[in-house]
Amino acid sequence: MADLATTNLNANTVADDYIAQVARKRLYSGLMLLFFVVLMVSGFQVASTRNGGSFWGGIDNFFDYPAEVVSEAWANLDQLPGFMWEYLPALLETFNIAALSTLIGAAFAVVLSLLSTRGLARFPRLIPVFRRIMDATRAIPEIVVALVLIFIMGGGPVPAMIAIAIHTAGALGKLFSEVNENADLKPIDGLASVGASWSQRMLLGVVPQVAPNWLSYALLRLEINIRASAILGFVGAGGLGYELKNAISWGPGRFDEAAAMFIILFLTIMIVDQVSSYFRDRLVHGAAGRS
């Protein structure tokens, strides 16, 4: 654009340049959009050809299964509460897997995040090591760990719990360390000046500052983990997912039980969702009276 500076900047050239620039920008955006649309369409086509049934063949049947389940549940409506009661222990197990793994994962996340935050770390040289540990544990999908542990330990809630806890430690660790970075360092300096050890500095200087945000993230994670725990049950880790799989592969005749399980799972997720969003709001924005 050196010639622009030397030639006279009359309004015409500026306007022409602007129009040309806009046209170029539009062309690029248009091409990007076209590329994107082609990518999506061809992607769906590829996925469709690899699928057992096609999209257009299946779209009509979309409501068949829900309709079957609902009609069977409707026919045995009086038994539904009984089924819900019957599967409550399985639901409790699914919830316990999620709760325990959140608790354990969060505990590890706290330590990992404190060790990998600049300014707080106990061993500043090892910060990259702890960060990579968090990256790796975050990258491991729960199903990988769960399946391997099921092979070693046999089925049951513990493999799923460990698998979710490992992923939670990495995922929460990253969020926690972002929170830690915003912590005020003055209380820590103060504590250091009176001879507090590293754990005392963290416990008394950092934790009170960041605990509300930590708790908020942990609650959000609990929601996610309940879903994960239900899914892992489906591949053999116990809890409601496992019962659901059995009821579904049984086919018609046990759809009423499946419906009962759908309902209690849906309700649990909704309740946890609502309760946690209420508490998260309070934790981050303070209680209604105080703010």
Binding site: G43, F44, N51, G52, G53, Y65, A99, E142, I231
Partner: protein
């Protein structure tokens, strides 16, 4: 708000506050301990140690970095085959057999190293273990396996398990098992055998230098073909499965975003003045989000069959609820001044949205979409295991067959690398798109 407490009062208050806080902390800790105690009972932890199978763990770890070559003799016709992992697709021919198997006229000698020597002959097998002696096993159709040991039969060491019809011997050098139907020797080696080329490939056993030399001489395509279609490791299929998993995540995430954007306008207070519409759309989002991905997966599998499309649609439906919620919140936070500015130039509603609203929410939108793209790669692995698509399915199959743990560890490494790559890629794209080039 000047409080005229005396210092004594203040210290009393402070002490009380401290005591209350301490009590709260103590109560929380107690609750957690009580919860752990409850879990200990509810998850039946003591029984876990009994159920846990250390042998499985050992095979898993050993198999992850080593492989075994089977030398098998069919005791009915004395035919001997040498193959890797006993796999039909990895059977040696007479020509390329390993040199530790020496075939004679009548007997075949198998050298397990460190002085361990096994001999296969029609109807009998011998195993010479250093510092122990020669064992002979005669196979008889009517009387089972007739065993001769250098020690008395009741003083057998615990690495020999013997019964009338079966003998199993495990030493550091390998394993021998003899039954009426067949005799089999395993010898263990480190590494992932045949990872690059199968036995029948002309490139098997060649060094990297030789291969690159051949590649330069115009055989690159043939070399790649043999590698890609390796019947044991199936590299082509694995790469395709990885692609399928990423495809599921991509289609699901972007499809959800496209579906959620117009709906989000209907759920935002400042764009949908009608309360009923807003309420309906918001409850719809809640419903879609609340019905777990698992349930959607089940419903969709019934309608569309197994495959990647089903997985993509499951992600699409679940995430459209989440995106709808996030997008509508972002829309409620847009600055109305820009929209008014556009409106003052006489722009129609669609133009107002395009030039007044979209530029404001695009950064939020993109960063959320990219974040979900990364996390959905992980979900797609899990959903693929249920709906039958992608690397998740291959992993589950490999684990269920419980045969090839080196394949399992290979898939696990690939999955972790894939997720890390998507993590890095979405971060890179986010930086480029949002913070400018």
């Amino acid at each position: 708000m000047a409080m005229l407490d005396s210092s004594a009062d203040l210290s009393l208050q402070a002490t009380q506050l401290f005591r209350r806080k301490r009590m709260t902390t103590f109560a929380v800790l107690l609750a957690i301990v009580a919860y752990f105690a409850y879990i200990f009972v509810a998850f039946d932890i003591p029984a876990l140690w009994q159920r846990a199978n250390a042998e499985n763990a050992k095979t898993l770890v050993a198999d992850a970095y080593s492989y075994k070559t089977h030398v098998t003799m069919d005791n009915r016709n004395s035919e001997i085959t040498v193959s890797i992992e006993g796999d039909r697709k990895a059977r040696y021919t007479e020509a390329n057999e390993p040199d530790w198997v020496v075939r004679g006229d009548e007997t075949t000698e198998i050298d397990l190293g460190d002085g361990h020597l096994v001999t296969f002959a029609p109807n009998f097998v011998t195993y010479d273990v250093p510092d122990f002696g020669l064992m002979t096993f005669e196979v008889s159709r009517s009387r089972g396996v007739i065993q001769t040991y250098p020690v008395d039969a009741d003083q057998l060491p615990d690495w020999i398990s013997a019964s009338k019809n079966r003998v199993g011997i495990t030493t550091d050098a390998g394993r021998l098992s003899v039954t009426r139907n067949r005799s089999e020797v395993f010898r263990y080696f480190n590494g992932w055998e045949l990872f690059f080329f199968a036995l029948e490939s002309p490139y098997y056993g060649k060094s990297f230098g030789e291969i690159s030399g051949l590649a330069l001489n115009g055989e690159a395509a043939a070399i790649f073909h043999d590698f890609w279609h390796n019947p044991l490791w199936r590299h082509g299929a694995v790469v395709w499965a990885l692609f399928e998993t990423i495809l599921m995540a991509f289609l699901g995430t972007l499809g959800a975003a496209i579906l959620a954007l117009p709906l989000a306008f209907m759920a935002a207070r400042n764009f949908a003045p009608l309360f009923a519409v807003r309420f309906a759309v918001r409850r719809f989002f809640d419903f879609v989000r609340g019905v777990d991905a698992l349930i959607w997966t089940i419903i969709l599998t019934r309608a569309f069959g197994l495959g990647p499309l089903t997985g993509a649609l499951a992600i699409l439906i679940t995430d459209s609820g989440t995106f709808g919620k996030i997008f509508s919140e972002a829309l409620e936070n847009v600055d109305s001044k820009q929209i008014e500015g556009i409106q003052s130039t006489g722009a129609k509603p669609l133009q107002r949205y395009r030039f007044g609203v979209l530029p404001q929410i695009i950064p939020v939108l993109l960063s959320q979409v990219l974040y979900f793209l990364e996390s959905n790669t992980r979900s797609a692995t899990v959903i693929g295991a249920i709906t039958g698509g992608g690397i998740g399915l291959m992993l589950v199959q490999a684990i269920i067959t419980q045969k090839d743990w080196e394949e399992v560890s290979y898939y696990i490494v690939l999955i972790i690398l894939m997720v890390m790559f998507m993590d890095w890629f979405s971060g890179w794209l986010r930086k480029r798109l949002i913070r400018g080039k």
